[in-house]
């Protein structure tokens, strides 16, 4: 079995704002586009124009309906990708050392040269964040765009994951969650960011920001009529309102 590093210098990860995500899937296809042409094997599609199209995606968005007892039903759009856990069970379960967690930044990666496609890691991941590419026969997962974030061939502003760069609502944030002074750590503190399924003991790096409370109209007194229009007629209303000018 493969070991995790004792500690990592940074804890790079994503903060995803569920209050802001409109479920547009921009991150899904930007991720597919970048990773189809970059790190490791392409992300293949099977039966692309047929009855049962299915392809490899490193990031997917699911929309869930929530029905609070005391308010209208709500929709939560939930982007799902690897959480780059500190206690990543997908790494420790790997029989070949292909799955590993980088000591410098905590990114969990698959060394495709060593991957035998056994699928144990996908089975071990409680988040369903790994997909076996059916064409390449190797395990694919979010790389946090490790080939973008340090890439000297990209302008500095573009050295962030493709999903973060493309997100139209700015619901995705990237940074070092190990540094309490980083923007992402401050955002997590300010908005009550939380771990997904903490009971699994995986200690995920990525955090989710919860939706703000909804359907609680602002506490404002209803408007008081200027006067009883029925009693005074239009003329009375007109006199009263034009006094305001």
């Amino acid at each position: 079995m493969t070991q995790l590093p004792a500690r990592t210098e940074k804890k790079l990860g994503l903060v995803i704002d569920l209050d802001t995500c409109v479920g547009c899937h921009a991150c899904v296809t930007a991720c597919k586009g970048w990773n189809d042409a970059n790190y490791g094997a392409p992300l293949s599609d099977q039966d692309a124009y047929g009855a049962d199209p299915s392809g490899t995606f490193l990031n997917r968005v699911h929309s869930y309906e929530v029905q609070p007892g005391d308010a209208a039903a709500q929709i939560i759009n939930f982007p799902r990708s690897c959480l780059h856990c500190e206690d990543a069970p997908c790494v420790t379960v790997c029989p070949t050392g292909a799955s590993y967690k980088r000591s410098q930044d905590g990114i969990v990666l698959v060394n495709e040269d060593a991957c035998i496609g056994c699928g144990l890691c996908a089975w071990a991941c409680p988040y369903g964040a790994r997909e076996l590419d059916r064409a390449a026969g190797v395990m694919k997962k979010c790389t946090l765009c490790v080939d973008r974030i340090y890439n000297d061939n990209l302008p500095e502003a573009d050295r962030e994951p493709a999903c973060v760069r493309t997100c139209p609502t700015h619901a995705r944030h990237f940074g070092d969650l190990g540094d309490p002074d980083s923007d992402v750590s401050k955002l997590v503190a300010a908005r009550g960011g939380y771990d997904l399924m903490p009971e699994q003991g995986t200690r995920p790096t990525n955090k989710y920001l919860p939706p703000r409370p909804k359907d609680r109209p602002a506490e404002i007194s209803v408007l008081a009529p200027l006067l009883d229009v029925k009693a005074t007629g239009l003329a009375g209303w007109l006199d009263r309102i034009l006094e305001k000018l």
Binding site: M1, T2, P5, D19, T20, G23, C24, H25, A26, T29, A30, G33, W34, A48, Y49, G50, A51, P53, S54, G55, F57, S63, E65, Q67, A72, A73, Q74, I75, I76, N77, G97, Y100, S103, L109, N111, V146, D147, Y150, N151, D152, N153, A157, R165, T166, C167, P168, T169, H170, K214, D215, R216, P217, A218, I220, V222, L223, A224, L226, V229, I241
Partner: protein
């Protein structure tokens, strides 16, 4: 094993080259960086410098690579060899294809140019295609606005001189309360998402008014799940509440709107029009003198409460109407499905934010009356609305009602409110009027589309019949500023108002998801007369892809994809400006086509040269333009003003300047776009701001300043009403008089959608929404996007789900007065309890779009279109009544009423149509 990790190259080369152009995966027109490797597209991302998307890109845009590799791309010109609708074609050369087109079109131009109907669908080059049609001489030209959102565009332009969508935007950086009505989520895609992101970061409030709580409504702080077609009633109830409480912006109304103008109370032909002086200037009563004065005189203090010789102000008419109890929250609650308490709370919140949280910018400015103001006061309340509001038969008046609400809050063109984007603001009377007079061998007498000021501008023949095949600008829909593309096939088939010879369509899937009553439309396209000839003799179609419509044409002119072509996103057309700047853009061939296809606009230039169309050839008959790129650079609409504003003259001129042969290169070097910032003093109050007006003249938007008042009272509408009352020499047919009197009310009203007339026994509403990750039918051929939206269940609210005893996996028969469909259902609680909905245009015909015949889009996917009639139910009067807004002719898609019942699951969604033969062959695999 102990921790170990491989060495990794974290700085791999990214691409050989980045070419910056403009996206066309929807109508948003974002800037994109196309990364090429070995000459092939490797990756597409947003352009950070671009004014529309500022670097971000949606799911469609980032999937563009699969659009340029899609097997559905047409490969060569096609001539039909089987029966229409079969899909049997043979590939022919461009030489042959163009000759066929000329052989059909040339005799029409010489004898009866109106026998060509040229409608251009999702065209982004309408100023060019209309110029072509004008040169040809046919009155029968329009794009797709009539079945999209003309109510929104026309109501906005007639009321406030601009509209939502590409004409304006909320002041995203300052607004504190944003109210979103019935939005279609692709209009306008990334700017709204960027804006919502900004609001969320600031903690500003978002309120969604929509029967369905998906997408933007999903992140709204409050959701009002309104009953479809009643938005106008809700809005006018808010107006009622605000008026009753006196929480309105009196100063704004007095200065910038027609509220202080006087309505003629006489009995003559001017009754109900606004009083004017002898120079035609609208009059107000000046509070300082108590005397009438032109509205724009320096120092005038318009009196909202004046009465002059028995004539009252618009303000008084407005107060009288909307203070009436019929507009009170209690009166509208049941119909709208929103409780009176909720309506009152929303009114109070609007007032609280607009007036108690007003914002002031220390920015002096001078108004059109010559008065200097030291600051700019803003009302940080903003609104957005699109097709959900406008695609009803009461949509025009509902859109006007929304603009009225904005006006009484004083929140248009102020900090924190709604802001126009150049070339708007632009008063309706600075737009052209319609032109429809054709003559053999001659160009049309002017631009086809425009904004009628009254009956004198209707497009009628001397005997009073509609001059256009779509009956636009006729008494049936006088203000149809975008035409009625959805009526063209039905009218051409019926020979009503006359027969045509050639139907020429570009980029509109009229044989499938873009038509109402799809099955009947397919029948009309293939119907033959007694002699065995098609009733519509010739059909030419241009598209880049093997859409359903391809099968119904006789001649196919295959277009390129968006990465293989020149285009211009022009200020003459549908602009991409921002509130702070004018902007335009180009597309250019970042890759070359690998098939025998040509950009449609270049094909039109070629046809124009062959047909010797005025404007395209000089006096000697020589071609002025080689191709579309040549036209983009060298065409001048007015001296010095052409399709592109940037890099004119010697390359340093913006807006006005001689054609610059190097212009396209300069655009490419600049990232595919040009930008002209509006000066700080001109950023707000633009319709009345002298600095803005001067700037607009400077860059060529206008030739003289065009300040104006907003129109709470629409004089053009009143003129049509006057005609219906018997005034004037252009008179409507008697059967339309009562309808015109009712719907052409000069102040916003609400009336029940016409669909309600036939709703007995059809208790539910049904509508469609666009997924954010798909654009019309285009997404289904995209290998990535169809994995996101490959099926479209009919979503059913809890009340109906329970009543019908539905379970997961069930199917239902849905019936309307027009037909029935049998489709898979799914439960959704976040939904108005009388509304069913599904995703638009996911269902596909077998054989289309190069999908396999067993693709889920063709077996479980479905269209609501089969349930929607292009005509209202017959009334026994022998007349064909269009299922459209009676003001603009906008297709009333969302008036649809249905009933639903559980049925046993069929093999496939019903109805099923025979497969069409794919013009691109086989199983469509790469």
């Amino acid at each position: 094993m102990t921790h170990s990790q491989p060495a990794l190259d974290t700085s791999p080369p990214v691409s050989d080259e980045i070419r910056r152009t403009t996206c066309y995966m929807c109508a948003c027109r974002c800037g994109i960086n196309v990364h090429l490797r070995s000459g092939k597209v490797a990756y597409i991302e947003g352009n950070r410098d671009h004014p529309v998307n500022k670097g971000v890109l949606c799911a469609k845009g980032a999937s563009g690579i699969m659009q340029v590799t899609a097997p559905s791309r047409l490969r060569a010109p096609l001539r039909r060899v089987g029966p229409r609708g079969s899909g049997a074609f043979e590939e022919i050369s461009w030489h042959e294809a163009l000759q066929i087109a000329v052989d059909w079109l040339e005799p029409l131009r010489e004898s009866a140019p109106e026998k060509l109907a040229f409608f251009t669908g999702r065209d982004q080059s309408q100023s060019f295609t209309s110029f072509w049609a004008q040169g040809f001489g046919t009155p029968n030209y329009a794009a797709h606005g009539g079945f999209c959102s003309v109510n929104m565009a026309a109501a906005g332009i007639y009321t406030i001189g601009g509209a939502f969508w590409e004409f304006g935007q909320p002041d995203w950086d300052r607004t504190r309360l944003f109210v979103l009505f019935g939005v279609a989520e692709d209009h306008d895609s990334n700017p709204i998402k960027i804006g919502i992101g900004k609001l969320k970061q600031r903690g500003a409030r978002i309120i969604g008014v929509n029967p369905v709580r998906t997408g933007y409504n999903g992140v709204a702080d409050d959701w009002l799940g309104i009953t479809p077609g009643t938005d106008g009633l809700l809005i006018l109830a808010l107006v009622h509440e605000l008026l009753q409480a006196g929480r309105i912006d009196l100063d704004y109304l007095a200065q910038f709107t027609d509220a202080p103008c006087l309505v003629d109370a006489g009995d003559g032909p001017g009754r109900g029009l606004l009083l004017r002086d002898k120079d035609g200037k609208i009059l107000v009563i000046d509070r300082t003198t108590g005397r009438p004065a032109p509205f724009d005189r320096k120092g005038v203090r318009p009196d909202l409460g004046a009465t002059y010789r028995g004539c009252r102000t618009v303000f008084q008419h407005m107060a009288e109407r909307y203070l009436a109890p019929e507009y009170g929250p209690d009166a509208v609650a049941a119909r709208t499905g929103i409780t009176a308490a909720r309506i009152r709370a929303l009114a109070a919140e609007l007032a609280q934010v607009a007036f108690d949280q007003a914002i002031t910018l220390d920015q002096p400015w001078t108004d059109f009356r010559g008065e200097r103001h030291q600051t700019m006061t803003g009302r940080p309340v903003s609104f957005h609305a699109m097709r959900g509001v406008s695609a009803h038969s009461n949509g025009f008046q509902t859109c006007r009602a929304l603009h009225l609400l904005q006006m009484i809050l004083g929140s248009v063109e102020v900090p924190g409110g709604f802001r126009f984007k150049p070339p708007y603001p632009k008063p309706f009377d600075a737009h052209p009027v319609p032109h429809a007079r054709s003559a053999p061998g001659s160009p049309l007498n002017g631009p086809h589309l425009g904004f009628p000021r009254g009956p004198e501008h209707l497009a009628l023949t001397p005997d009073g019949a509609p001059a256009r095949i779509d009956k636009a600008f006729s008494w049936e829909n006088p203000m149809s500023a975008h035409g009625l593309m959805h009526m063209v096939i039905a009218n051409a088939h019926a020979g009503d108002p006359y027969r045509i010879d050639t139907l020429f369509f570009y980029m509109a899937n009229m044989a499938w998801n873009s038509s109402m009553n799809t099955e009947a439309i397919m029948g009309m396209l293939t119907d033959k007369d007694a002699a065995g000839d098609y009733k519509i003799p010739h059909i030419i179609y241009s598209d880049a892809y093997a859409s359903e419509m391809v099968a119904y044409a006789d001649l196919i002119l295959p277009d390129t994809t968006y990465l293989e072509r020149h285009d211009c996103i022009s200020l003459l057309d549908r602009p991409i400006c921002e509130a702070e700047a004018a902007a335009d853009a180009i597309r250019w061939p970042v890759i070359e086509p690998d098939r025998d296809v040509r950009g449609f606009q270049s094909v039109l230039v070629d046809l124009a040269n062959r047909l010797q169309l005025p404007g395209f050839v000089d006096d000697e008959g020589r071609a002025r333009y080689r191709d579309y790129a040549d036209y983009i650079v060298n065409h001048e609409r007015r001296p010095g003003v052409g399709p592109l504003m940037g890099f004119r003259g010697d390359g340093g001129a913006t807006g006005r300047g001689a054609p610059n042969p190097d212009q396209i290169r300069r655009y490419i070097d600049n990232g595919g776009f040009a930008l002209a910032h509006i000066p700080d003093e001109a950023q707000f109050f633009k319709p009345w701001n002298a600095a803005y007006q001067d700037w607009a003249v400077g860059i060529g938007l206008f030739d003289t300043p065009q300040p104006y008042l907003f129109s709470i009272w629409s004089e053009p509408m009143r003129r049509f009403q006057l005609a219906a009352e018997g005034h004037g020499d252009r008179q409507p047919p008697d059967h339309l008089r009562d309808r015109l009197k009712a719907v052409m009310d000069p102040m916003p009203i609400w009336y029940a959608p016409f669909g309600d007339d036939a709703a007995d026994g059809y208790p539910l509403h049904a509508l469609t929404q666009r997924p954010m990750a798909m654009y019309h039918s285009w997404g289904s051929q995209n290998a990535w996007l169809r994995q996101i939206h490959g099926v479209n269940p009919l979503y059913v609210p809890t009340r109906i789900w329970a009543a019908q005893g539905f379970d997961e996996g069930d199917w239902a028969r849905v019936t309307s007065p027009n037909g029935e469909i049998t489709v898979p259902v799914a439960h959704m609680a976040a939904l108005n309890d009388s509304t069913l909905w599904t995703w638009n245009a996911i269902g596909k015909r077998k054989g289309a779009w190069a999908l396999d015949a067993d693709a889920p889009e063709a077996t479980r996917g479905f269209l609501l279109n089969h349930l929607i009639s292009d005509l209202l139910p017959e009334r026994g009067d022998g007349l064909r009544w269009s299922n459209s807004d009676p003001v603009t002719g906008q297709a009333a898609w969302f008036d649809l009423r249905v009933k639903i019942e559980k049925v046993a699951a069929p093999d496939e969604a019903q109805p099923v149509f025979p497969p069409i033969v794919s013009p691109v062959g086989g199983k469509g695999r790469r």
